[in-house]
């Protein structure tokens, strides 16, 4: 009996160690492989804007810029929508349909990112080029964000695609947080004569502030790491531009587009360094959100 218990426990511990070991190993491996690039470029890697495989000069700023801009756009667009959806599902939807309605939103997250990329490339792109772009330019063309010719691909397209992809992430977590607010808190609000919206705003949202924040951070993390969909719609133009209509690059798009032709060791090392930067950004963003959530649960 003892032997059986011991073996089983070892297997279980081992499996856990695999998961922990993977993350650690991932980091170390990326770090080690990036060392040639880090040695050669140092801090300038993050500041330089040229990506020239032939001359072996690699600067990552446009990629980092693109990743941050597209993710921020996606967060700006999806955050209010996601919160609205979460409020709808947890407070307003008829209980009988609730499961099915929330399933519809879950499906948004189940669709492979590749499909989003295709939709962005073939459906959204002409839409931006012919309808949305000019429309925005008419109204907001005085802003630097909306200048230049809308080619259809670029930061805006990627931002919109990403925003749809992260809606399920933010809304499902927010929904969980809302449902954790006890019913009697809401009832106290109603008893004081508040309207439904006031109860939602003051009681539910008020209680859930930190949870919603964490949900947003998590969505951001997801957007930062998206590879295929973004690569298909970002336009692959190694440049920094304030205009949202302009094509650009992101860390993931550079890695995907450049990797296949990677010949020289330094190029691979530079690409891996990009991956390392992405790892660090994503890990800290997600880690922060998860830690925050776990702390909240433990405190309650």
């Amino acid at each position: 009996m003892r032997i059986g218990d011991r073996i089983f426990k070892i297997l279980a511990v081992f499996s856990s160690l695999i998961i922990v070991g993977l993350v650690i190993g991932l980091f170390i491996e990326l770090l080690v492989t990036s060392i040639p690039s880090i040695k050669k470029f140092g801090i300038k890697f993050i500041i330089d804007t040229v990506w020239d495989p032939v001359a072996e000069k690699f600067g990552a700023l446009p990629a980092i810029y693109g990743t941050l801009v597209t993710s921020l756009i996606s967060l700006l667009i999806s955050f209010p929508i996601s919160i609205g959806i979460a409020i709808f599902l947890s407070e307003l939807s008829p209980p009988f349909f609730r499961r099915t309605l929330s399933f519809i939103i879950e499906l948004l997250g189940a669709v492979p990112s590749l499909i989003y990329g295709m939709w962005g490339l073939f459906t959204l792109s002409p839409l931006i080029q012919l309808k949305v772009g000019p429309f925005l330019q008419n109204i907001l063309g005085f802003l630097p964000f909306f200048q230049g010719y809308p080619t259809g691909v670029g930061y805006l397209n990627a931002g919109v695609v990403l925003s749809i992809m992260i809606i399920p992430t933010i809304s499902s977590l927010s929904r969980e947080v809302f449902m954790a607010v006890p019913m009697d808190q809401r009832e106290a609000g109603y008893a004081l004569g508040m309207t439904k919206w006031e109860v939602i705003r003051k009681v539910v949202l008020g209680n859930a502030k930190s949870g919603i924040f964490a949900a947003g951070i998590l969505g951001l993390g997801r957007a930062l790491g998206e590879a295929v969909a973004v690569t298909m719609v970002i336009g692959n133009f190694y440049n920094i531009s304030v205009s949202l209509f302009s094509p650009g690059v992101t860390i993931t798009s550079v890695i995907i587009n450049e990797f296949v032709e990677a010949v020289g060791g330094l190029k691979i090392s530079a690409l891996i360094e990009l991956a390392l930067i992405l790892f660090i950004i994503t890990f800290f963003v997600m880690g922060f959100a998860r830690y925050y959530i776990l702390r909240r649960i433990e405190n309650k």
Partner: protein, 278 residues
Amino acid sequence: MNYRRRKTTNYIMLGICIAAFFIGAIFLFWILGDVFLKGIKYINWKLFVELPKPPGIPEGGFGNAILGTFILTILASIIGIPIGIMAGVYVTEYGSGKLAWWTKFLTEILSSFPTIIIGIFIYILIVVPMKTFSALSGGIALSIIMLPVIAKSTEESIKMIPVSVREASYALGVPKWRTILRIVIPSAGSGIVTGIMMSIARIMGETAPLLFTSLNNNYWSYKLNEPIGSLTVLIFNYATSPYEDWRNMAWAAALILVFIVLILNIIAHIYTGKREKR
């Protein structure tokens, strides 16, 4: 009067929330409908049995890619399912210390981690030493993506089993490991199965990790140490190519992919619903 204003605000804000839901739903149906309409025109049974042809030559198919996705999925499952379940078991049955906390924390992070990084990880770890892209490396990369999803759903299913059931087993003089194997895991069975279905649906739709591991293959292949075709990589290559007939095929393939993924999700959804009623 003040009341009237509050009432109006109430209706407007609630209306906005309902509208938000419809925005989400509209996007879903828009995208799915798009895939359906663009892909259905090119669906025929030849797609499943023929090999890709050069652009310009009509017909052809991508049966090898479908088979490839199938093989990769099975490979990933063989590795990922047992380890994932055991990790979930560890956290619930043995974990009260630091290792359990870190496992839970890192599992959560790993489950929404950029899959492209995992692909690169396996590239460095396995593809480079092996000096070749391979189905094996693709399967391993996918298993890493599956792992945290299965571990998490295992953990949650086991947590739902009341302590008294375990105690009944202990009280009969059954040791811990047998209790876990024959009482806990079977009772959590349906939850674990759902988790497996969802994780399979997830890895079938992954592209980025495969680009660095299993690459692609235009011929029928089943050898583990050679590159292998997959539905997602095929779609990616065809969709971004300049050839129209390839792009059309990409839509057909996308339709097939979406169909499979949707079915898996719907089955899991219905299954969970039945379980909750019981």
